[in-house]
Amino acid sequence: MWNELLYAFEAVATLPNFLAMFAGIWGGVIIGAIPGMTGTMAVTLALPFTFYLPPVTSILLLVALYKGSTYGGSISAILIKTPGTASAACTVLDGYPLARAGKGGKALNMALVSSCIGDFISNISLFFLAMPLAMFALRVGPPEFFMLMAFSLTIVASISGRSLVLGIISACLGLLLATVGEDIYGSYRFALSEDMKSGLGMVPVLIGLFALPELIKMVVFRPEENNAALKLGDNRLTLSEFRGSIKSICRGSLIGVILGAIPGIGPSTAAFFSYSEARRTSKNGDKFGEGELEGVAASESANNGACGATMIPLMALGVPGDVITGVMLGAFMIHGLTPGPLLFQNNIGEVYALFIGILFSSVFLFIAGKVTANAFTKISRIPQTLLLPCILILCVYGIYSIGASPFDVTVLLVMGVVGFIMMLLNIPAAPFLIAFILGPMFEDNMRRSLAISRGDLGVFFQSWISWGFFVLTVLFVTLTIRREWKKWREKRAAATASAS
């Protein structure tokens, strides 16, 4: 084994491989930071170029693009409240308030450090746990997925802010919009027009909901301070701040690894799950959503933690964990490598080379992140009256380029208006987002499970994994009801006291 590792190290440590990784990471960070441009787009665009590269170099390039774009999404999420990628949506919750408070540089540094740690832990996991975790993932069927999704949806309670009722309303709206289009059995729902038959795209909905309301708010209210650009202020991330978030970083990385290894879940869910866990357990939990560095650390470590882990089912079983790894599966095949157990028998040299190369990519991510983030921070010095309309146009171009569909642009603009109305009515947008992302998976797995069991609800309680998530869900719902009840009683007591 050690000889093979040494040989693989020699094979990876070449200039073309390093250049490919550096170009991939840097390009990915830039693409991820542009609203509307996704990691999938970056990897797909690079795919034709890999024809001219050796197998290991081309896979490393694609992996680097994936990782870079996942981190890049956090830059625009923090600085302009526009998540560049879906997985960075959770970073907006604390990143943007931090930037508004003049701590944008600090938030970016925390995002970078936690992304790199998450990425590194994910890579180590890929190295050591590929087979065992892939075996675990194989045991997760629709009922277990359903229970996992049910537990993930309880996050809504912790990101609802001031009012749980309004949070649930927001989540219901997200769940409902997620049902638009064709369902798993080919029935169309809410297809008011031909375009709606394919459903509402996640990226237009997401960007519309988070980026556009700020522009509409500026146009409608014309705030006095609309020249007040986000100040970077204190850029340095202190050791004590890092230490304060280390638990959330480690937990987020592990959540990312576990959820990333399960096909179909991906970095977005991992980020929300990790954020929710950090909020539940942190002593500063009540400050989450108002600009808490730990919130940024939790979401960023998880989404980058999931990146390496999505390669686990791909390499060990030949099952792509998400759309991007689906594209990578094609890249493996192009170069004559067939992902799955046989890959470890027939091409062990390439497998080790990839593992080592992917480990190197964490270092490249840190360097590229530092350089690119510094360049992007200049955005925050542009007056908002110039910046926000330009962001809208950038989003319009980005969204149109995804599917060359004017309907996506319409969705973007409509969701911007919906987001603004929600903002006016104090309805939180975050529960909408999480419900919109998790909703389809929740419903599909519920319907699949019921179809398999011929309508028997017992299917959801047949494995220890399902039971584990069920107990966690019940426990959390009970705790939430108790907390809300206590809050209501306290308010009532205060009102009675003031009346008397």
Binding site: R162, V165, Y185, V220, F221, Y397, L450
Partner: protein, 166 residues
């Protein structure tokens, strides 16, 4: 203020989910005559969500009542009064809606680039801040053209050229 907002949010949610439940689902979620195995019908999940949303909307309205009563001892603000006092803001919001609608309708006619140039220019004007006129004029023309070049060269996106000119 918050009490009123909670009330309006609840009212809006109740109305929205009621329309979804009683109008949109019966019309736009067709249940096929044959469903394989024991799979739940396609309208099951939207119905469940709409019912929960409706209940939560009603709950938000009910919960807002005592707070509103408390607040109204000090200050009574009816919906009509609030709309009249915010007439300018409402006009500005309506103008945003008109700009967005005009873009969606006009873009296939005049083309993507001219439509984005016009929208950007109008939005700059609507910000009401004219301290950087030259920047605004420059960006209005150059920024959409640069983006057009970037996306056509890099991603080969075929942007609509407009039926008016071609």
């Amino acid at each position: 203020m918050n009490q009123n907002r909670d009330f309006y949010a609840g009212l809006l949610a109740t109305a929205f989910f009621a329309i979804v439940l009683f109008v949109l689902i019966p019309i736009y979620v067709k249940v096929p005559s044959f469903i394989p195995g024991f799979a739940p019908p396609p309208d099951m999940w939207p119905r469940v969500v709409a019912i929960i949303g409706l209940v939560m909307g009603v709950l938000a309205v009910i919960l807002a009542f005592p707070k509103m009563r408390e607040a109204s001892r000090n200050q009574v603000t009816s919906l009509g009064t609030r709309i009249m006092s915010h007439k300018t803001l409402i006009v500005r919001f309506a103008a945003v809606l008109v700009v967005f609608a005009a873009f969606v309708i006009g873009m296939p006619i005049v083309g993507f680039v001219p439509a984005t140039i016009v929208m950007l220019g109008v939005l700059f004007i609507m910000t009401g801040n004219f301290e950087r006129k030259f920047w605004m004029i420059g960006l209005t023309v150059i920024f959409p053209v640069l983006l057009y070049l970037l996306f056509t060269e890099v991603t080969h996106t075929p942007f609509p050229e407009g039926t008016l000119f071609f």
